[in-house]
Amino acid sequence: MTTRELTYVKAFNEGMHQAMAADPDVFLIGEDVAGYGGVFHMFDGLLTEFGEARVKDTPIAEQAIIGLGVGAAARGLRPVCDLMFMDFIGVAMDQIFNQAAKMKYMFGGAVSVPLTITTAGGAGMSAAAQHSQSLEAWLAHVPGLKVAMPASPYDAKGLIVGAIRDDNPTIVVLNKRMLGLKGPVPEELYSIPMGVANVVHTGSDVTIIAMGRMVVEADKAVTALGEQGISAELIDPRTVQPLDIDTIITSVKKTNRVLIVHEAVEFGGIGAEISSQIQERVFDYLDAPVARLAAPFAPVPYAPVLENAYVPDAPRIAAAVRRLVERS
């Protein structure tokens, strides 16, 4: 029997349905998540199935959306608060990084905040500078938060369920350009825990570490490189906080070369952290400096020609890998 295929957004949606059906403490709030089902239809059908008490449209008020989630989570519920576009987290940032992230620690462990924040990041739709960012490094920098970036339909379902069941504030960053991507998704409820990387391809010549939609682009690059006789291992950390560094280190010790790919700008991105940890732990295994491929240090541009130049893609990933292999 073959596993059925679902799109990324339908897989996420199924995870929401099943997680809410399994636990009456789970509720969903956000802008147009109920009647409209979310601007990306992530939440279609939830209002019908679970009713207005558990699926609520909010005012356009990101601080109050997240703050409500923090307070309700501290009281033992499991809120899912949607922020629509990742760029909007700036409006709610105090509630995320000063409140949700710190309550457990600064209250000496007295409170847990099992809050899930859903949002959509990523460029490639000419949505321009305020609807396209990848800000996962901001969030990963704050002790107390967890950050998941599903890169397949299977992970979109498993990571939203895992985030809801996690007892910590967790941001699940969907990628807008992956919504229609199809892949195998089991029908039953399953959960992917935070901090467990996915080895998408095994290989021996080079390790590619990619996040979010860059996993899809890197996957294409791995195929192209294979045809040219280069065996690449592809690792998707799945969550950038916590980061499964052990899986990465194991791979680097085998391949001795690393390329890190993300949509976020290169400066201060997660790639910098991963690169630093690799050289601290397995410097002697490296045949070449750890390479990064990421966005230039600019806001996301609007014009398609500029945006295409801005976001890494499969040909550029393959080229970067070839440069790595050729120099050593």
């Binding site: 703050g67 620690y105 000496g108």
Partner: protein
């Protein structure tokens, strides 16, 4: 759609039927705050205790009046000036002083300090050092009560300055539109840090802001615990009935500086203004009512002060002799595992 009204003060005769028990209850809450705060202030200024303190002295009637109509199941969020709210909600001196001293026996195991006192057993959902930060969190606590139908209410305490920040407005609107069981308790002490109210807003009565959210607004004398209690009782009963939130503006005053007792000695307040407010002191007011009505004797009030001083001494001794946290545990409780 609703059209909210602004009212001034509690009903006529609100204090007429105040019982001996009620007067003693409010008095005890206020004295406990006063003695704790004066002692803590001295300990910080003498260098015995770390951190810095935003003292609540002068405003005790607000915390005492509101908390006297809440149960342990009702939730509050508080501010950087939060000791009074915690004490009035039932927090104990030993873990409070221990927290201020940064000890493992403190409410936050020494992780939070003065601005983050929490007591989940008493419905004290945490003091908050970001102005306005606790208000949306209280909305969440109120939502949790509505969601579960447990009859609980949430009260958020904040100052005049916080009503200029976005979090307040977003929270007020959301609580109103969802009829959440909540009290917005604005302690208008006239100053946002060192900036006086007329320099930070056009309004004289902050309760007027409630009208823009379709929420009843009430102005009350924040030096009169019985008056605060009366308006809070009405608001809590409405909230429990499903009637939605209420905004209470308690006009009050802090005797000490923004931070500490002497603070930074910036001459931003007229000494005559300070003395005028002190002449209407909340504790002296309730003692006068109790004695004049023959309900409580001066001796009985004196015993409350004496007992509280003894409790404070006990709390300080406990804190001083408690163990320091172990730096080896510095990563504990970053995450729930």
């Amino acid at each position: 759609m609703s059209h909210a009204t602004i009212t001034s003060g509690p009903r006529q005769g609100y204090a007429d039927d105040a019982s001996r028990d009620l007067i003693l209850d409010l008095h005890r809450r206020m004295v406990r705050i006063r003695v704790f705060e004066e002692s803590a202030g001295k300990l910080v200024e003498s260098g015995d205790m770390p951190g810095f303190l935003h003292l609540y002295v002068g405003q005790e009637a607000v915390a005492a009046g509101v908390m006297s109509v809440l149960s342990d199941a009702d939730q509050i969020t508080s501010t950087h000036r939060g000791h009074g709210h915690a004490i009035a909600k039932g927090a104990e001196f030993r873990p409070m002083f221990a927290e201020l001293y940064g000890k493992t026996t403190g409410y936050c195991k020494g992780r939070g300090g003065s601005m983050h006192i929490v007591d989940m057993n008493r419905g004290m959902l945490g003091a908050n050092a970001i102005v306005g930060g606790g208000i949306p969190i209280a909305v969440g606590a109120a939502f949790a009560s509505q969601y579960r139908g447990d009859g609980g209410v949430a009260a958020s305490f904040f100052g005049d300055g916080a009503t200029n920040i976005g979090a307040f407005h977003e929270a007020a609107n959301m609580a109103a539109v969802w009829d959440l069981p909540m009290l917005f308790v604005c302690e208008n002490n006239g100053y946002a840090e060192f900036t006086s109210q007329e320099r930070h807003m056009k309004l004289t009565d902050i309760a007027e802001r409630a009208a823009s959210y379709g929420m009843p607004g009430v102005i009350v004398d924040g030096m009169d615990a019985l008056a605060v209690r009366a308006v809070a009782l009405e608001a809590v009963e409405r909230a429990r009935r499903g009637g939605g939130p209420t905004f209470i503006e308690a006009k009050t005053y802090r005797y000490f500086d923004h931070q500490g007792i002497k603070g930074m000695r910036i001459p931003y307040r007229d000494p005559a203004e300070v003395e005028a407010w002190k002449s209407r002191d909340c504790i002296r007011l309730i003692e006068a009512i109790g004695v004049e009505r023959g309900l409580v004797s001066a001796d009985e009030f004196g015993q409350v002060w004496a007992q509280t001083h003894a409790d404070v001494t006990d709390g300080i001794d406990f804190a001083r002799t408690s163990p320091d946290p172990d730096p080896a545990d510095i990563l504990d409780d970053v995450y729930t595992v």
